[in-house]
């Protein structure tokens, strides 16, 4: 008997196992929230190791599912993201009455993302995408006593239904026009000048752009991010976006390779618009959650520019950027969560005078924001530099110049938070940081500092890709 499928599916199987364990605990006597979180963290660490190591290359289920070292690494980034999120949002999670359900939902979404990354076929991709979306909508509803939260969930489910419809339509068109929806077979069947093929490309791209909240498919983002609880917003803007960026890359680089000229232009234009609009919106935000959420739209624009390179270097720099982005953004969200848990405020103006009694929190936040803004020597700079270098390979300097100018614009709103924190006119009281949260923040800081300077990390990603 052949047990290869266990190797290929190990990480997905383990995620399922965690879900089952959590369900059993829920059905049984139940458990204190603290212990439950500890068990989940431990199991996620095991899963991280599983996703990271012992990866082979191969196909399962008639090419529906593809395993490779690269995919393993991408999954590991997402699992690490979920792990860090659970750490830094410890305070909020511990207070939840329905914690097991929340964790099950989050892990189901993670499972969906994992299979999405490994999908070798559009049908598989569609199924996984739904699995990665619907539980998140339920998570968005978790502030049960707030109407905003329910509204966010409802809006999210309705909008994603629409995008799923468009995606399915695109896939159907593709199947109708070429007779196949397998990533392996599509490059031979697709033609760069066939109208039907182009239309399906646009539709499938639109669905991805919706998930990434690229402009003009981003309108749902404002309400959903605002209304959802902070951990869910972080999950949406960090883990979900990372997963979709990976999938977009592998879909375009493999299935749609013959239509490169078209999607290059799509990515370049949508990428630029997204960066500009995302930044312009982020400038105006006074709520830290909304500011981070809108700035994540701008960050996605940079990712699109990187993807447009259509080269191994492009792929590697996208993965590298997402890795860095996970560390930086979760650190920022984490600090915001700690502050919100203590003071109940998410307003940037309420950060005034934070430095006086909370030096650690302030420096972590400043570091995270510097990384997001792409200032050396933080990792964020290397991430953006590589994305732009990849994007510049076609010598489209307009693209690079506008993108680089926007790094300046983003500096404006990131620095505003920093300036508020270092304000000395008022002084915030000391904010207690639980040990778990501290651990999560330290891990993020280590990531922000090491990922950029340690050259072998990028090397490793590029090697996986070869």
């Amino acid at each position: 008997m052949n047990y290869d499928w266990i190797i290929g599916l190990k990480s997905e199987l383990f995620t399922t196992l965690i879900i089952v364990v959590l369900l059993l605990i829920k059905l049984g006597k139940g458990m204190r929230n603290g212990s439950l979180l500890q068990i989940t963290q431990l199991l996620l660490l095991v899963n991280l190791a599983l996703a990271f190591g012992w990866n082979g290359n191969g196909y399962l289920f008639g090419n529906m599912f593809q395993a490779s070292q690269l995919f393993g690494f991408e999954k590991a980034i997402l699992i690490a993201g979920v792990y860090l999120l659970i750490l830094v949002n410890h305070q909020w999670l511990e207070k939840q009455e329905h914690l097991p359900e929340f964790l099950v939902l989050m892990l189901s979404a993670l499972l969906g993302m994992q299979t999405m990354i490994s999908s070798g076929n559009f049908l598989m991709l569609y199924l996984s995408l739904e699995l990665a979306t619907i539980p998140v909508a339920a998570m968005a509803n978790f502030d049960l006593d707030k109407k905003r939260s329910s509204e966010a969930a409802m809006k999210m489910i309705l909008s994603s239904a629409l995008s799923s419809g468009i995606l399915l339509m695109g896939i159907s068109l593709l199947y109708g026009a070429t007779g196949t929806i397998s990533f392996e077979a599509l490059p031979q069947a697709l033609k760069a000048d066939n109208g039907l093929h182009l239309l399906s490309l646009v539709m499938i791209f639109a669905a991805f752009a919706f998930k990434l909240s690229a402009v003009p498919f981003h309108l749902w983002t404002a309400d959903v991010y605002e209304g959802s609880p902070m951990p869910v917003t972080a999950f949406l803007s960090v883990v979900s976006k990372g997963a979709v960026a990976f999938v977009l890359t592998s879909t375009f680089y493999r299935a749609f390779q013959p239509m490169f000229e078209t999607w290059y232009q799509l990515l370049a234009i949508i990428g630029l618009i997204t960066i500009i609009i995302g930044n312009l919106f982020a400038i105006r935000q006074d709520n830290i959650k909304r500011m981070l959420a809108f700035s994540s739209i701008a960050q996605v624009g940079f990712v699109l520019i990187g993807i447009s390179a259509n080269s191994p270097a492009g792929l590697a720099s996208v993965i590298y950027f997402v890795l860095i982005y996970v560390f930086s953004n979760i650190a920022a969200f984490g600090v915001a969560a700690v502050i919100a848990a203590q003071t109940g405020s998410e307003q940037i103006s309420d950060y005034k005078g934070l430095y006086a009694n909370n030096k650690l929190l302030t420096w972590i936040m400043a570091l995270a924001l510097f990384s997001l803004a792409g200032i050396p020597p933080t990792a964020g700079f290397f991430g953006k530099f590589f994305l732009l270098t990849a994007g510049a390979v076609r010598a489209d300097f307009w693209l690079v110049i506008i993108a680089a100018l926007n790094m300046m614009v983003s500096l404006y709103y990131y620095l505003r938070v920093v300036r508020n924190m270092f304000n000395t006119e008022t002084a915030q009281p000391t904010i207690a940081i639980p040990v778990t949260v501290k651990l999560g923040l330290y891990l993020c800081v280590a990531g922000i500092l090491i990922t950029g300077i340690a050259g072998w990390i990028y090397d490793y990603i590029a090697m996986l890709n070869r």
Binding site: S159, L162, V202, P216, L219, L280, I375, P376, R419
Partner: protein, 639 residues
């Protein structure tokens, strides 16, 4: 002495200091200053050994100074063609800069032990100082342009921390923010310039880049010359953008506005950052890429020369009107950097034509000594009278004799009085300008007269003018020791046969003094000093009456030619009106309307379901479909 370990230790020791002081600052607080000073001292000794070996033993092969790379490890590998190294590069200019940076940093460290004594964040101060020194040394030793950029930014960040050291002082915070933002704009140009140069040169490595972009008719050079953007060749774009980066750090007109405000930092910091090291990074950068500028883009180099000359004269004019002594010194620095920059601008590559290059580096060296001395002396004065303003000073020569004499030596040096160091380097610059670009020569000559005037205006107002009434007394020995050492340097550094050591192509350049040529600048300098003595030697009404007779002209110069106001107008009225207002409109009318709309309806209508049916989600759907259709039309019919 030139082994990789020895050279690597030079920047790594301050890094060690930074790590120790930032991790164990509380425990180490009483020893923070000593620890940091000792580390820098070791660094400086290593540098001294390396410089001696390089210049007088191993550096020269067949009478040409070689570029030695003791260490170059692959750091980040982008793809097979492009990888980024982290390494150590030794050539005449980097060794010379190493000497400058470690020497001045050592002096500032010693001085700070007394100057910052009793500060609450004593250890933090030294941690930042060590970080800055490390970054600056890393920048100097960089083997490739990316490494330069990396340390360039690190220098920026650490100077940002140092300028804002008194973070509870709003003006210090504002100044550090201004410095950060202005240099960020310039650095953005640098970054794009790096992308352009590396794209065409196919490498980030300095040696490869220079070789690729200076050898005639290599494919790289041809491609860079042929590709154009807005009618200017890609090579010129790349080099200009890199220069803009340098101009931002070096506070050249019109990117100089951050430098005077940056004087909010502690005074020793100004001596280190704003006199000797960071602000000359731009000059160093152009010198580093000098062959490319001189051989492949001579027109651009000429333009750089003009930028330098204009900065020199404008800053000198403004310096004549300021009353804050640190600001006078800040504008004087800007003016002297302008000198260095136009010296590069009028220079050619190789042989006799490279006189400007040598002169520029020579002036960088001597200026570091006398300007650091001036800042440290000013620090001692400020320490004694607790004010930056000239009118609180006067007559201090009796109370502070050591400071007085060393300050006088520095003033004579910067005014170009023979035989002090500034005379030699300035003569070389003027000679280079005279030979290559007469208009710049005249500007430089006038500026040197102005320099003598404003420096001695400063000197007389601090040490003479009126009898001193307060209780000021001489600085402690720890503070005057660096002053004396630097004064010795400022007096005699001009006797170094600099042309033998540093030249554009590594071959010795024999420069001689032409006595007849020196008459004009020296006479002008002495004239400037005499006018200053006449106006400010004793308290009198002449300066005030001259001010009022100049009227609007004086006011315009006093207000720094309204350049800050111009920037303010541009950012507030133009940029904000064009970008932020439309953005605000979109935000208010689309995003806020969406959010508020749903919120207000929630209040009005009790049923939740009705909220979701408020039409907004349909609207999102409409946009979504509109986007899909728009893209489809674009893809199917337009492309």
């Amino acid at each position: 002495m030139l082994s990789a370990t020895n050279i690597a230790l030079i920047p790594l020791l301050p890094l060690l200091g930074f790590v120790l002081l930032s991790l164990f600052g509380k425990q180490l607080k009483p020893f923070a200053g000593v620890l940091a000073t000792v580390l820098i001292l070791v660094s400086a000794v290593l540098t001294g050994g390396a410089a001696w070996t390089y210049f007088f033993a191993n550096g020269r092969v067949n009478d040409v100074y070689q570029t030695i790379i003791p260490l170059n490890i692959e750091w980040l590998r982008f793809n097979d063609q492009l990888s980024i190294q982290m390494g150590l590069l030794l050539d005449p200019i980097s060794v010379m800069m190493l000497v400058v940076v470690t020497l001045i940093s050592l002096m500032v460290h010693i001085y700070s032990n007394s100057y910052m004594h009793g500060e609450k964040r004593f250890a933090t101060y030294f941690a930042y100082l060590q970080l800055f020194t490390f970054s600056m040394l890393g920048l100097v030793l960089a083997t490739n342009i990316f490494q330069t950029y990396f340390f360039w930014e690190l220098v920026g960040v650490s100077s940002f921390l140092l300028i804002g050291y008194y973070y509870d002082k709003p003006s210090a915070v504002a100044a550090s923010k201004k410095a950060f933002i202005v240099t960020r704009f310039a650095d953005l140009g640098f970054l794009i310039g790096i992308l352009v140069l590396s794209f065409y040169g196919g490498s980030l490595d300095f040696q490869t880049l220079i070789q690729q972009l200076t050898t005639p008719h290599t494919p790289a050079l041809d491609a860079a010359n042929k590709a154009s953007f807005l009618g200017v060749s890609a090579l010129t774009w790349g080099l200009s953008l890199v220069f803009i980066g340098g101009a931002g750090k070096s506070a050249l007109f019109p990117l100089h506005i951050w430098l005077p405000d940056a004087m909010e930092g502690p005074t020793p910091v100004s001596a280190l950052i704003h006199a000797a090291t960071m602000v000359v990074a731009g000059v160093y950068l152009v010198a580093r890429l000098f062959p490319i500028y001189a051989i492949s883009a001579p027109e651009l180099l000429a333009a750089i020369g003009w930028v330098g000359a204009i900065s020199a004269v404008i800053a000198a004019l403004i310096a004549c009107t300021q009353t804050d002594i640190k600001r006078v010194l800040a504008y004087s620095t800007m003016s002297q950097i302008g000198y260095m920059m136009f010296a590069l601008g009028v220079s050619g590559y190789g042989g006799e034509a490279g006189l400007g290059f040598t002169a520029s580096m020579f002036h960088l060296f001597t200026h570091a000594l006398f300007k650091a001395l001036l800042f440290l002396g000013a620090g001692a004065v400020i320490h004694a009278v607790h004010s930056n303003e000239m009118h609180d000073m006067g007559g201090l020569r009796k109370q502070m004799p050591i400071t007085h004499i060393s300050f006088l030596i520095a003033c004579l040096a910067i005014a170009g009085v023979p035989p002090l160091s500034g005379f030699f380097s300035k003569e070389e610059i003027l000679l280079a300008a005279y030979q290559n670009n007469t208009p710049i020569y005249w500007i430089a000559l006038i500026t040197s007269g102005l320099t003598a005037f404003y420096m001695f205006r400063l000197y007389f107002r601090i040490f003479w003018n009126k009898p001193h009434t307060g209780h000021a007394h001489e600085a402690s020995a720890i503070m005057w020791l660096p002053l004396v050492l630097l004064a010795v340097g400022a007096a005699f550094a001009g006797l170094i046969p600099f042309g033998e050591l540093v030249s554009s192509d590594g071959k010795a350049l024999h420069s001689e003094l032409h006595l007849s040529f020196s008459i004009a600048p020296v006479a002008l300098g002495v004239f400037g000093i005499l006018i200053a003595a006449w106006l400010y030697g004793k308290q009198n009404a002449k300066p005030a009456s001259i001010q009022s007779s100049l009227g609007g002209l004086f006011q315009a110069v006093y207000h720094k030619l309204y350049i800050d106001e111009l920037y303010l107008f541009l950012t507030k009225s133009v940029v904000f009106a064009l970008i932020a207002k439309p953005a605000a409109w979109i935000d208010q009318h689309i995003i806020n309307a969406a959010v508020n709309g749903s919120a207000s309806i929630t209040q009005k209508i009790s049923s939740n379901i009705k909220t979701w049916q408020s039409g907004k989600v349909q609207e999102y759907g409409l946009y979504f479909l509109g986007g899909v259709i728009g893209l489809a039309v674009l893809v199917l019919y337009i492309w």
